[in-house]
């Protein structure tokens, strides 16, 4: 299951979709909206994405993981739009015969997702300002 959605992520459904009699291990990763980042308080996040390319890249990442580990099933769902504190922004689920494979493949998928999948988040800080998060780009605060 590769999906971008504006609705809350159903991690139970995603996890069930990767379970298999061939797998001894399932790893689920959830990214959730954290309140504090380096001493600053977030009240919400807005996620923007380039859906066609994001889905294509997620499929490539699944293929990469399958080429490296004996993945039985894998699924990635990323949410877009306005998220409140504690909401799930991304869910990655993977099943493998053995646990270290599942941990490695799951970590690989979320690490690579953060590097290559065209999705961006905008911080809504508690002081009322907003700020796109663009790692490595010169910080320019915008008030929108």
């Amino acid at each position: 299951m590769i999906q971008l959605t504006h609705n809350p992520i159903d991690f139970t459904l995603l996890t069930e979709s990767v379970r298999s009699n061939q797998a001894g291990a399932v790893v689920l990763f959830l990214g959730t909206v954290r309140e504090m980042t380096e001493g600053r308080q977030t009240v919400a996040l807005d996620y923007d994405g380039f859906p066609e390319m994001a889905e294509a890249k997620l499929r490539e990442l699944e293929a990469e993981a399958r080429s490296r580990w004996p993945v039985i099933e894998a699924g990635i769902v990323h949410r877009l739009g306005h998220l409140e504190l504690g909401d799930i922004s991304v869910a990655v689920a993977v099943s493998c015969p053995h646990r270290h494979q599942a941990f490695d493949a799951g970590r690989y998928l979320i690490d690579r997702l953060k590097e290559v999948v065209p999705i961006w988040k905008k911080e809504n800080w508690s002081d009322g300002s907003t700020e796109w998060v663009h790692p490595g780009a010169e910080p320019v605060k915008s008030q929108i």
Binding site: M53, H134, P135, A137, V140
Partner: protein, 81 residues
């Protein structure tokens, strides 16, 4: 040649548009697109060096010819997850 591109995230906000049309030679590469973007939208200057360019659903390489294409996308470093 008419070259069409989508903009995302802060690049879209700074340009003030989700899509843009530029006139580029057919042989234009990412470097020339950057220059043209900076001339068209000076507000993009601080972001220019870090902007990424996609052709279709793939990242463009420095040698990809992009002049005249209509399936380009330009955006700053990603921050999903």
């Amino acid at each position: 040649m008419k070259t069409k591109l989508k903009l995302f995230a802060k690049a879209r906000d700074l340009v003030g548009a989700a899509e843009l049309e530029l006139d580029l030679p057919e042989s234009a590469t990412v470097a020339e697109l950057r220059t043209a973007l900076g001339e068209h939208s000076p507000a993009l200057q601080p972001l220019l060096a870090s902007l990424l360019v996609a052709v279709g659903t793939d990242y463009a390489s420095p040698t990809t010819r992009i002049g005249g294409r209509t399936d380009l996308a330009v955006f700053p470093p990603v921050s999903g997850g």
